[in-house]
Every structure is written in structure tokens, then in C-alpha cells.
Amino acid sequence: MTGSAHRSLAGIAVAMYRVILLAYPRDFRVRCGAAMVATFAELCGVRFAEGLGAGVRTCLDEYASAVAGIWRSRAPRVAPPPGGRFGAGFVQDVRFALRRLRAQPTVALLTTVTLGFALAATTAMFTIVDATMLRPSPFPEPDRLVRVVNYSAASGRAYPGLTREKLRQWRSEHELFTAVEAYRRTSVLVTGGPEPEELRAALVSPGLMAVLGLPPREGRLFTLDEGLAGASNVAIVSESYWRTRLGRDPGSLGRTLQINGAAHRIIGVMPARFHFPTGSEQVWIPFDPQAQGRDAGGMTEVLGRLAPGLTPTTAKPRVAAAVGRLESERPIPTGWGIALTPSSVSGPDDATRRAVLVLFGAVALVLLTACANVANLLLSRAIDRQREFAIRRALGASRGRVFRELLAEGVLLGLGAGAVGLAAAHWALGALVRVAPAGLLDEPASNVSIDVRVFAFTAVVALGTGVLCNLAPAFRAGRASGHDALTNRTKSAGETPVQRHLRSGLVLLEVSLAVVLLVGAGLMARSFTRLAAIDIGFDTDGIFAVTIGLDTARYGSEAERMTFLTHVARDVAQLPGVDGVAIAASVPPSPGTIGLAQLETEGGPCLRDRTRVYANQVSPEFFPLLGIRTADGRMLREDDPPTAVVLGRELARLCGGASLVGKRIRLDPAAPWLTVVGIAGDVKTIGLLDEDGELAFYLPPHGDLGAALPMTAMMIERRVAPRRLLLRSPRGAEGLDDVKRVLWARDAGQPVLDASPLSELMGDSIRRERFLLLLMTIFSSVALVLASAGIFGVLAYTVAQRTTEIGIRLALGATRGDVLSLVMRQGLVLIGAGTLLGLAGAFAASRLLAGLLYEIDPRDPIAFATIPAIVLGVGLLAAWLPARRALRVDPATALRVN
């Protein structure tokens, strides 16, 4: 090795050795550090002269020895205090910290409350995140579970309900599915238990429970021959039914329940975490989807399990190939097309996930803002406490000791805030769950509660924030030097430039975070106003919808039901203050009767494939009452024949448009021809966000819906048939009592299931958006308040610090305006810079909101332009108060204080 080469290598090695030495205690380094380096350098030099390998080996050995020495050098020479190094020392730190906190109750309280509430929001949101997204599906391999719906490539529409033939065929496609099963949600009347009741239930094909993959808690699942016509009736019950109605009695297997009048033997109990298809079903009954019946499979839902290794996305090409093959081999009227989507049992959908994540992100930003606020507060307190720390240091406390004590203070504050947070979260969660729309929280409300994981999360975050907030003050306190602080010059020494920049930086952070949240809220507000302004196609002012549940045992046919309702409507029309009455099978946003129609005019079929349509039966008053436009022709009249029909405009367009008026149309080859009397404007049949609810048609009350549209089924078959009475009554809710009186005068046994203003019902369909907007508004407002408090705090502190300076300036002839601009300038810089930073951040982050905004670009200029104005206004207000205080400084008194 050349002399210069190994000299430079040695130099590097020595430098690294010095770095290791930094870890030794100070007095060790003072006494032996130079000697150690010298010895190492000598050793190193000699070895490198011998050779590179020897040199490197030696250096490594020495490094190792030096590192090992770090621990040995710190070994206590006296016996450590009881509890070990960290034990007793820490306990003492905590005791001191408690005492110090008690001495400044306002700061402690303010901190605990601020952090506590921020933590409460965070905990509540985390609980929701945990419940909706982190808890895995109880079923094995849930991403192979798919929902199978019909898909028509020609119309681009997807709709549920496979026909028998389609079901049979796809079941046999073993390359794609290991199983394809069907189910139907329903309600059943159960007697034979403690009391008669109506329960949510599901009819399932015998193999479905096995496909889901969760074994029963008691008993067994269905065998493949159960559910066939003629087989003995069996049923499986849920764990909650078994627990609450059957007393957890293992002997209840084999007991009989009367379900809808027929005896069913209980053969199994499902475990508590089994939910299918939603969280509310309590009974599962087998059925044969291939059985004959009025329902030709129209509305049966289909669940499939994909072949191993496939997901809904990766299965797409195989599906396309299979569809192509089937279409060429054996075309059928409905078309073979299917679409696969992840089953709802495998977890929440994308939109829900995104909404929850956005809210969680927002809450995290609020927490960060609160932390910045608290950190600022603690920092300013630490500056004021310099004297205290300097004294402690002068009395012998090491820098590390003071640091640790302040850290202990932070830990205590964090724990306090955590406790407050958990308590508040419990309350907040209850409120949140009640207000949240059903779609957002798929879990039954009981599952969303604070459990161990959430507790642990909160504890960690609380401790973290407590320590974080006290970190800067702790550093500062450690460095409090003796002399300056012990003399009375502490006050005027005030904060160093570093501290000032730190505090300003924190406020800057707060302002920018508030801006980000405000932009988010602004975007959502814009989106929501767009939504609320959607033309639904009808009026809702002053209109109430009364849903009457007609007993199908008493009024068996639709004709009987409609006749009864017509009588009731006539009576209601006589009531004082009632301005118009109509009857309808359904009213938006209820979908009413959904069916599959093969649209056909006298000139031939309109579409190749069947398409989903919404059917309604309405009295003639329906159209003028709701203000539905007449697009062509006329609306229904009293004297129309049963075969008259009014088409929705979108539906009519498929078959020729305005020219249809007066012509005939039928919805099924087996159905009778209907005469089109008119075309009505489109309405949002199933809610504001409904995309394809417009394929609607209206029959008169005495029309025969069953014959006109054979392929229909109700989503939920119930013993009572809900029908609507619509009325306009300025008297509002009081008028409804009269309606009930009139109804029950005719027939006392018909329940009123619901009576609400129509506007409320329609508003329900945008519950999720309203909920999101509400939360975002709350979060952003809180952040704005915190940021304003931050601005106020910094400026007030500045004014207090610079009182003397202001006094001097005033005495030397500065005007009030000069003083004002002095203070406001600092404020404006903070607000301005913070806003710019926040806008940049919002610009980058708004993309995340893309899926949740309705017809609003995430970079919407109006939202981005108005927010800075709001922040500026609020910020100036916050800056105004300290500025005024500066103006009121009396030069004489200010100069005297020093």
C-alpha cells in the first residue's frame, strides 16, 4: 500500500472511530477520548502499513470493541436505585411532571381538552374504518365470491335476476365457477317461537351456505335434495335468534317453527359472525331456483364462487369467451351475457371505502392541526418557564434529565387527552352511527363499538401526540443556560429567532391544513348543491306519501287492493285542507315493481334483449299532483280501458318516441297488447343518483300488471303489500292523522307503514353525500378555529414581547397606523403563506375526492377561489385583536417596564 493511500484510509477510519466515541458519556470522553483516538490511530496506521486486509480487520475489531465499551462505560458505579435505571427515575419524573401540571392548570386543561376532542374524532373514525374495512370477511377466500347479474352488451345495462336456463347453464361452466347459487331476500311470519313475529329471511338454494364456507355452530347445513318440492321443510336459524328466542338450547335442533303457516324443522344454527346477505336475516330456508312458478327467476339474486385463482377482474376474459361461445351455439332471448362484481359479503364497495378513507384522512389532518396548536401553546409556556429550568440546571439536573421530565409531562398530557378522547369518542360514535346512512356502515350497529384494537390505537396515538407536542419545548428546556436565565433578563431575552420561526412554522402548518380541509368541504358542498338541484322530474312541495300495508290475505288480488284504495282516496279528498289525492303502487324513490320486458311494437321488437323496466299503477290524479310533464299525447283518465298505458319518455324513445302515441305496445310475447295514450316526462324513479331508473311505465289502477309484465318479482315478498296514497296538504303532518282516521274507518286492520313528506323521501337517497358533507364541514370548521387560535396566539405573544419596542416607537413619533401595520404584517405573512401552501396541498390531494364528487371537477375553480377569501377574512379577524392591543400600548408605561 502506498503511504498516502493508507494514510487517507487511516484518516477515514479514525473519523469513523470518533463518531462511535460520541456515544460515550461526556466525562468519559473528556478524560479518555483523546487517548483513545490516539491509540486507535497508531494501531490503525501500523496495521494498514502491513496490508489492506489486516488494516480493515483491525479497524472492524476496534469498532466492535468500542461499541461494546459504550455499555460498559455506562455501568453504574453505585447500586442502581430500586426499580432499575428506568424504573425509579421514571416514577420520579412522572411525580414531578404531575406537580408541574397542577401548577399550571389552565394550560393542562386547554391542552387536554383540545387534544382530547381531536382524539375523540380520530378514534371514532378509526372505529368505523376498522368495522368497515379492516375486519376481514368471515368467509374463506372472500374475493372469489361474486355477484352474478345479467349484462346486455347491446344496451350496456346490467340487471339482476338470472332465468332458470341461464342459471343452469352457468352453473355448468366449471372453468369459471366452482359453484353458482341463488337466493332471495324475503320476510316471513314465524309462529311456534315465543311469540309470532315477522322476520327477515332468505330463501337460498341448498348448496349456497356450503359455498360461503362457514360451518354451522350447531347442527348441519342443507343437503342438496332439501328444498326440492315435496322434500320435508327445514330451516337454519341465526345465532341471535337461537340466543334470544330459543334460549341457546342445544335441544332446539329438531324443533319445529311455523314459517308462513308451514312447519319447518330447525336443522342448524349459524355462528354469530355469519351474515347473509345483509346483517338482518335470521332464518334461511332452502328453495329450488329451478322450480316452476309465476316468477320465472326474474329477481333472484345469484352468488357465485369463482374457480381458484380467479377474481372478478381476471375472470372477465373467460366470461367474454364463454358468452361468445354460448351465443353462437344456442342464442336465447335474454342473451347469455353476465357481469361479475365482488359480492357485498366480501366487503364494502369502492365508493364506501373511498368515503371512509377520505373522512379518516380529514380527521387525521384535524388531529395534526390540534397537535400543532398544542405544541405552540406548550412552546410558549416553555419559553416562559426558562427561569424554572435554568434553576434546575444550576442545581445540577443534567440536560437529559430535564428533557426526560418534560417528556414525562408530554406523556401525562397524552394519557389525559387519550382518556378524554375515549370517553368523548364513545358518545360521538353513538351519534355517528345513528346519523350515518345505512350504506356507509354495512355492519349492524352493534358491531361498531370501541374494542381492544381501537383502544390500543388510541393509546398509541395519544401518547405519540403528547410526546410530539412537548418535544420542542423539551429541547428548549434542556438548553436553558444558567446565567442569562437566573438574572432578570429572561423576560426581555424572550424567544430566540429559532423559536419564533418554529412557532410561526407551526401556525403556518395549521393554516395550510385548515385550507386543505376547507377546500375539501367546499368541493363537497358544491357537489351537494349540484345533487340537490337535479331535476327529479316531479314536484315534492307539500306532498305527503302515506304507505299503507294491505294485507294480502284480505285483499288477495291487485284489483281488490286498488279498489279499496280508490275508496279511501275519495274519502281523503273530502277532508278539509286536502288539495289533491292520488293512489299509486309506488312512488319514487321506491322502485315498485321491477320486471324484465321484451319490448315490442306492432312493427316488431324494439330491442333484441330483454331489459329492466319499472312498472307503476297510478290513478289519473298522479300526474298533475306530482307535476309530471306530459311529453306527448295525454295522461291517464278515469275512463281509460285496463289496457291503456302511459310510457316514460326514455322507454318510449327505445321504441320509436312520440310516434308511439295511439299505437300499441306489449312488454312480453305472452302479454296482451297495451295502447299508448301518452308519454310522460322522465322521473328519477329510484333516487337522485339513479342512472337508469327512467325506463318506466304507468298502468291505470284497474289494469292487469301481472298479465302485462309476466316476468316480475318483488324484491321482498311480504305478507303485506305496500301501496301509496299521495296527497297535497298544507296542514302538513297534522293532516295525516285525519287520513289515518279515514283509512281505519274503512278497514281498521290495515297498518300505515310510513307517512312522510315526499321531499324527505327523495332526500334520503343522497343521505351518504349529505353525511359526508356534514362531517367535512365540521372538521374543516374545527381546523379553521384552531388555526385562527394559533394566529391569535402568535400575534398576541409578539405584541406582549415587543411592548417595549412599540412604546419606544410610539414615543419617537410612530403613528398608530405604523404600529398596526407592524403587527398585521406578521399576521398577513402567516395567513398568506399558509393559504398558498394549503392551496398547493389541496390541489394535489383533491384528486382523492374524485369518486365522491357529483359533476364537479376536483380542481373546481370556484371552490379554490372562495376558500382563500374565507381564510383571509377569519385570519384577519384573529389578527385584529392583538393588533388593537398593540394600539392601546401607552408609551410611558411601556418604557418604564424593564
Binding site: 479518555c32 491509540t39 494501531l43 462505560s73 458505579r77
Partner: protein
């Protein structure tokens, strides 16, 4: 450092013993101590700086060695010299005597061979 109660003699760890021993016959600097110990033990005990200096610090704290001035002919002024103090010398002697006593016991028990006297026995 193990300090038995009641004022009985101190025991030194092997490394402490060797370092004190190296300084017994004069002041030395760190590197020299390393070299001497390695030579004395035939490379059995190769001290490294970490070990060496934790021991040196401990001996300094006990007052058994002290920093010494560099000898006048020392050209490298980075070298730091150490020397043994009176207290250190007495501790060293005490330890050596303790070890010697242990060796004698081992010899009586025939665990160690008695050394063959090279000089002729007295009285022969």
C-alpha cells in the same frame, strides 16, 4: 468492580491486573500497553481500545492510575501516558500475593507441579 464487604482485599479482573502490571515498571501510553500485554501473554490476550479504555477509566476513577506527562523524548504528542499511583501499586501487590497463595495451594494439592529448582538444593 467487586468490593466484598468488610474491608477484605480487593480482587482485580484479569484485564485490570494486566494493565496495572504493565504500568508497574514505568509510565506507558495506550498503544504500548496493548503491545506489552499481547507480548506478555503470547498473544493470548489481545486487548482492544474499547476494553482497554473502559478499564483505564475505571482505574482512573479508583485513583489507582493517573495521567502522566509525556517523557521528554516523546515526539508524538497525541500519545497520552499513564502511570500507576501508590494506591494502585499496593492493590497490585495485594492481588499478586493473593494469586501466589492460590498457586501454592494448587501445588500442595499436586494440581500444579512444583517448579524444578535450577540452582542446586541447599545442603547438598
Amino acid at each position: 468492580m467487586r468490593r466484598p464487604a468488610g474491608g477484605s482485599p480487593v480482587t482485580l479482573t484479569p484485564v485490570e491486573f494486566h494493565v496495572l502490571l504493565s504500568l508497574a515498571d514505568g509510565e506507558r501510553h495506550g498503544y504500548a500497553i496493548l503491545q506489552e500485554v499481547a507480548r506478555r501473554t503470547d498473544d493470548q490476550l489481545r486487548l482492544r481500545t474499547g476494553t482497554l479504555y473502559t478499564v483505564i477509566k475505571r482505574l482512573l476513577d479508583h485513583g489507582w492510575i493517573e495521567e502522566a506527562a509525556s517523557p521528554p523524548d516523546e515526539t508524538d504528542d497525541r500519545r497520552r501516558y499513564y502511570g500507576v499511583t501508590a494506591a494502585g501499586r499496593s492493590v497490585l501487590r495485594a492481588e499478586a500475593q493473593r494469586l501466589e497463595a492460590l498457586v501454592r495451594f494448587a501445588q500442595e494439592k499436586r494440581v500444579l507441579a512444583r517448579p524444578r529448582k535450577l540452582a542446586p538444593e541447599r545442603g547438598r
